[in-house]
């Protein structure tokens, strides 16, 4: 497999935007200005970036409570996202949704979701639309290891199979659901085999390896577009921060987090591999880094400066007509 240079740079840029976005939100959260529950995606960037690179205009994704990465990778406006997280006017959802409900249907991002397992059924619906209206589109359900034990997710796998829907199920296994280890919670300990139990072919990949994810996603998406119905990818990686901002993650082994950041980093791996092998130049990546820093900086600045939503919006958008 050969990935052309521009695609590699795009993939890196997406990962870099996600990483910087999350690092900044983490820092800003500690100042007390960001309200509510915030779940960070840092450490998991390769999944959102490499999977969404396979998608086009008519493709859709459903995300989770840990939704910033998928939103960025699917093309949501970073400025609008940051404002949303701050609960300000001009936020992607007008300040009504917050971190857990970021969505932008115009770019095919069907929403973060506060309900674990909430996304997989929706994705079946989006895939049904694609199939019925023959758009050629497919739909991706991102969900966590915890969500993989939720009935909604399991039913959806069966539903997608019996209707041969163009759905890609992406299990993002970061080792934990809150404080509970996925090595304990997933009976049978073999997600790919579980998917096969629903008649869905799957693959397991190292989520710190952008190339591995890219390759698996590319293969799966090709099969789906070829009309073969749903596919499954089990991506393993770690999350760098606590379950949500404020969680000290003491359930992890002492040193576990430090080790992860040092040894398991999709961005470092990417840089080493692409520059080491001569695929990309370090300067190109440095330039992206600098550009992204500026972008996120501006987003935080604008978000902080934005006014709160008008009080009159409290009761709008409940219905189209009532």
């Amino acid at each position: 497999m050969k990935i052309d240079k521009q695609r590699l740079l795009d993939g890196y840029r997406t990962m870099r935007v996600i990483r910087e976005f999350e690092e900044r939100v983490h820092k800003e959260f500690m100042t007390g200005q960001i309200p509510g529950f915030v779940h960070l995606y840092a450490g998991e960037e390769a999944s959102a970036a490499a999977v969404c690179q396979q998608l086009g205009e008519y493709d859709t994704v459903a995300s989770t409570h840990r939704g910033h990465g998928h939103s960025i990778a699917k093309g949501c406006d970073v400025m609008g996202m940051m404002k949303e997280i701050y609960g300000r006017e001009g936020g992607l959802c007008g300040g009504k949704g917050g971190s857990m409900h970021i969505a932008d249907l115009d770019v095919g991002m069907l929403g973060a979701n506060g309900i674990v397992g909430g996304g997989a059924p929706l994705v079946c619906g989006a895939a049904l639309t694609a199939k019925t209206l023959k758009t050629g589109g497919l739909s991706v359900a991102f969900f966590g290891d915890g969500a993989f034990n939720q009935g909604t997710t399991l039913e959806s796998m069966n539903f997608a199979r019996v209707y041969d829907l163009p759905v890609l199920f992406v299990l993002e296994d970061n080792g934990y659901a809150e404080s509970t280890a996925s090595s304990w919670s997933i009976g049978g300990h073999d997600p790919v085999r579980r998917a096969e139990g629903f008649g869905i072919k799957g693959a397991r990949v190292d989520g710190h390896d952008y190339f591995a994810v890219y390759r698996a996603a590319e293969e799966a998406v090709a099969a789906i577009r070829n009309g073969e119905g749903p596919r499954f990818i089990h991506i393993e990686f770690t999350r760098y921060y606590g379950h949500f901002e404020g969680d000290a993650a003491t359930y992890k082994k002492p040193g576990e987090v430090q080790d992860e950041r040092r040894y398991l980093d999709a961005l470092k791996f990417f840089r080493a591999r692409t520059t080491g092998g001569g695929m990309l130049k370090a300067e190109d990546l440095d330039a992206i880094d600098a550009e992204v820093d500026t972008l996120i900086d501006a987003a935080v600045r604008e978000a902080k400066a934005a006014p709160p939503p008008a009080l009159s919006t409290l009761t709008t958008d409940v219905y189209l007509s009532y």
Partner: protein, 346 residues
């Protein structure tokens, strides 16, 4: 115009809208029937035969039998609605909402709000409700107060064949999610129904009868009961106005208030469980907004606070009866006490 059953009226509304709009699809368990089987296709047309004939006309791409996976297919209806289809999904009995409630209450109902007005989810969830068919505790509930409670949903409860067709047509064309209640004991009830498509707007109550003494608001199957009670009461010299709200969310409270301002008396008849039900809801609106017009206590006619029993004698005692309504009306007129005890559980 011709005489049609509620079953036929609903079928016609769905058929006409499917002809008109290729984005309308139907999905649910056995909505056609025979999926994967070697015998008759379209064998069921839904558990009550309401969608019979639609699969042969529109094909299995637009009339989808589903596995028994309500979360998956109701959620899929929500996801499809978000992305350009207009699904009509059947939750066979509304009692089953507990296995897929999240997809209705937290997803479908809230997308538009959570996403700051960006989502449009035109989706109809058809569902069976109500007691009277000896279907026992898990197949006889009303549940519409629950859906009425949650902002973001519209709740429709037709009381006749005419209403069934007009409200269903509106539901399919409506851009908000609609929960459409069909009483399982009413499908064979008939009435005059126009042959052409027509819509009945949501949030507009129907006065099925006007009388100066008492306002009776009744929901769904209870509308017929209330009219029967009113007929009988007229012979005693008590004149009732009977109001069918037709939709409980939105609720046409103006019409009810206006009527109570004339009659000064209100009886609300609701087949749902009494606590936090529609009877209480409507009563509270009047006690707040038309208090000054009231001449008597507001009476609620509901079943007792107990699950629905199986045995016919018990179930008949459970469901509000025409006699119960008469007695409550008499009681607000100052003649006779209400027999129904609201919190009868022990």
């Amino acid at each position: 115009m011709s005489v049609k059953s509620i079953r036929e009226a609903l079928n016609e509304a769905m058929r006409d809208e499917m002809r008109r709009d290729p984005t309308v699809i139907i999905m649910g368990e056995d909505v056609a029937g025979g999926m994967g089987a070697g015998g008759e296709q379209d064998a069921w047309g839904g558990v009550m035969g309401v969608t019979k004939g639609l699969m042969p006309e529109f094909g299995r791409e637009r009339v989808l039998d589903t596995p028994i996976s309500e979360s998956a297919f109701i959620g899929a209806a929500a996801g499809a609605a978000m992305t350009g289809l207009r699904p009509i999904a059947q939750l066979m009995f509304v009692d089953f909402f507990g296995v897929c409630g999240d997809q209705i209450i937290n997803q479908l109902a809230k997308f538009r709000y959570m996403f700051g007005g960006k989502a449009k989810t035109p989706c109809v969830i058809r569902t069976l409700y109500g007691a009277g068919t000896r279907a026992a505790s898990q197949h006889s509930q009303c549940v519409y107060p629950v859906f009425t409670h949650f902002p973001g949903l519209k709740v429709v409860i037709p009381s006749s064949a005419y209403e069934a067709k007009g409200l269903m047509t509106q539901a399919i064309r409506d851009d908000d999610p609609v929960i459409f209640f069909e009483h399982k004991a009413m499908f064979d009830e008939t009435g005059e129904v126009p042959d052409e498509p027509y819509t009945i707007p949501f949030g507009v109550a129907n006065l099925t009868r006007e009388g100066k003494d008492v306002t009776v608001v009744a929901i769904g199957r209870m509308v017929g009961f209330a009219n029967q009670a009113a007929d009988a009461l007229a012979k005693e010299g008590i004149e009732c106005t009977v109001i069918d709200p037709r939709t409980t969310s939105p609720l046409d409270s103006e019409t009810i208030i206006a009527s109570v301002r004339k009659t000064g008396r209100l009886v609300v008849v609701d087949e749902a469980s009494p606590r936090c039900g529609l009877a209480s809801d409507i009563s509270a609106i009047i006690a707040e907004d038309a208090f000054d017009a009231l001449k008597a206590p507001i009476k609620r006619v509901t079943p007792p606070h107990s699950p629905v029993p199986f045995s016919p004698v018990l179930e008949d005692a459970y469901v509000p009866s025409v006699a119960d309504i008469q007695e409550s009306v008499r009681s607000v007129m100052g003649s006779g006490a209400s027999a129904r005890v609201l919190e009868g559980a022990d």
